[in-house]
């Protein structure tokens, strides 16, 4: 093939692959909430696909129990047996800015993708 044709082929390929690289991460993600125990992901839910509210209980086998409630678009810790109940006081999260943290249980709930963060880099106040 002539040089010009090669350039055309690679330019086309580049455009296709660049487009895929940019778009693929966003396709089929929704608003995913991840639950972590000691920084290891143990459970996930796509909040944008939830139709009926439901509950999940996380018990680490060492006496720490957190009951998580999931509704369309949001998640919270409804009940927990930790002394301070900070995770319960945090309430619902629907965006990626604030995590729900239960220190004694080393349990963290974060909306890692899809959740609108309103461009915030961090949140000050609200936790001890």
């Amino acid at each position: 093939m002539k040089t010009r044709s090669w350039i055309a082929v690679f330019a086309a390929a580049f455009i296709v692959f660049a487009g895929l690289a940019l778009l693929l991460p966003r396709i089929g993600r929704g608003t995913v909430a991840n639950v972590y125990r000691e920084n290891e992901r143990i459970w996930s839910v796509d909040l944008s696909k939830v139709e009926e509210p439901f509950e999940v209980t996380f018990d680490d086998g060492e006496g720490h129990v957190n009951i998580v409630e999931v509704e369309p678009g949001r998640i919270r810790v409804r009940e927990a047996n930790c002394p301070d109940g900070v995770c319960v006081k945090t309430g619902w999260i629907s965006r990626g800015v604030t995590p729900i943290v239960c220190m004694p249980a080393k349990l963290v709930i974060r909306i890692d993708s899809g959740g609108d963060t309103e461009g915030f880099d961090a949140v000050t106040g609200g936790a001890g």
Binding site: I93, V101, D121, V123, T124, G125, G126
Partner: protein, 335 residues
């Protein structure tokens, strides 16, 4: 020619992926921390540094140097460079900030149940007795031997300043490793941002005034700096008398500081200074805080008052935008 086109394509594809920050999450100092760096190195070193500090400074860890001090029965204890450094700076700050800031309040916090979660209201006599153990002026440091002497019966709690100290140190390590920009979120009471984000935009820090996750009252837009917040609502309980008792204690009375303040946010260069200030200003209350701001000129602050008003120093006013119902709040700018 074909090879050049392929390389170019690969480079251009890759370039779009370097704007995302690298994040390290750590449980330390009784909180959940996120260390975020853009185009940087040194994350694992910074994380290791914070974990090391936690091991040295934790009042609840029996193996820590702080615990060793509290078990020393008044004998001098040799400590690591970091512990000595933090203690010297913290004691200096305590002197500057006077009666509103104390490092030896732990016996009092314990009596209220803030250290265990078993809340109670101590009687007046109990508090007067415990207050005799509160005086960080009696802590002795030997610069040559690097020893610390804590009088018997006294307790040290660096919880108010450890995170700030850790943030400053971690940022230094990251910069030494070539990191150009980063945001260290040490549990939302202490945030440190340095450098510029890849897109050149300012750091946007949302402010909360309650434990509720997404109840934002405003945003601070920063080029760089440390943001520290102390709020009564963070750790509190309700007494049978219907009163709210919180963990920010007035060192003079041994009781929760009641100066009409709901929360204080300080913006300054050093996170250690900011941490100490956010606690001290809460205890001082609006009038004394204003005097300190004029005298020092090295920090900006805002106070959300219990009556719903917002007090904000002139320098912070320019970079703070209220949200939602807070847009209607009465605002007093301190000039």
């Amino acid at each position: 020619m074909a090879a050049t086109a392929l390389v170019l394509a690969a480079v251009l594809l890759g370039a779009g992926c370097t704007d995302a920050p690298a994040v390290k999450r750590v449980f330390a100092m009784d909180t959940y921390m996120s260390l975020k760096v853009y185009d940087g190195n040194g994350l694992s070193e910074a994380g290791a540094y914070i974990e090391r500090l936690d091991g040295l400074l934790s009042a609840t860890d029996e193996e820590s140097e702080i615990s060793a001090l509290m078990n020393s029965k008044g004998a001098p204890v040799k400590v690591s460079e970091e512990t000595f450094d933090l203690l010297s700076r913290a004691l200096e700050l305590s002197e500057t900030l006077g009666d509103s800031f104390e490092l030896t309040l732990r016996p009092v916090s314990k009596a209220w149940g803030f250290t265990t979660g078993k809340y109670r209201i101590p009687a007046d006599e109990e508090l007067s007795g415990l207050l005799e153990l509160v005086d960080d002026g009696r802590v002795e440091l030997d610069e040559t031997e690097k020893t610390v002497t804590l009088p018997e019966g006294m307790m040290l709690d660096l919880g108010a300043v450890a995170k700030g100290y850790a943030a400053d140190g971690a940022a230094k390590i990251l910069k030494e490793h070539g990191t150009k920009a980063g945001l260290l979120d040490l549990g939302s009471s202490t945030i440190l941002a340095f450098g510029s984000k890849p897109d050149g935009s300012k750091w946007k820090i949302a402010l909360r005034n309650s434990t509720s996750a997404e109840s934002f009252v405003g945003t601070i837009e920063l080029d760089e700096g440390a943001v520290s917040t102390s709020g009564g609502y963070e750790r509190c309980f309700y007494g049978e008398d219907g009163e709210t008792y919180w963990h920010i204690i007035d060192p003079e009375t041994g009781r929760p500081a009641r100066t009409g303040v709901s929360s204080v946010t300080v913006v300054t260069e050093s996170a250690l200074y900011g941490d100490a200030l956010s606690t001290a200003l809460f205890v001082m209350g609006p009038d004394e805080a204003e005097l300190l701001w004029r005298e020092r000129g090295d920090f900006e602050y805002l106070m959300i008052l219990e009556d719903g008003r917002l007090l904000i120093s002139a320098g912070l006013d320019g970079i703070f935008a209220p949200h939602g119902s807070f847009e209607q709040a009465e605002k007093d700018v301190i000039r």
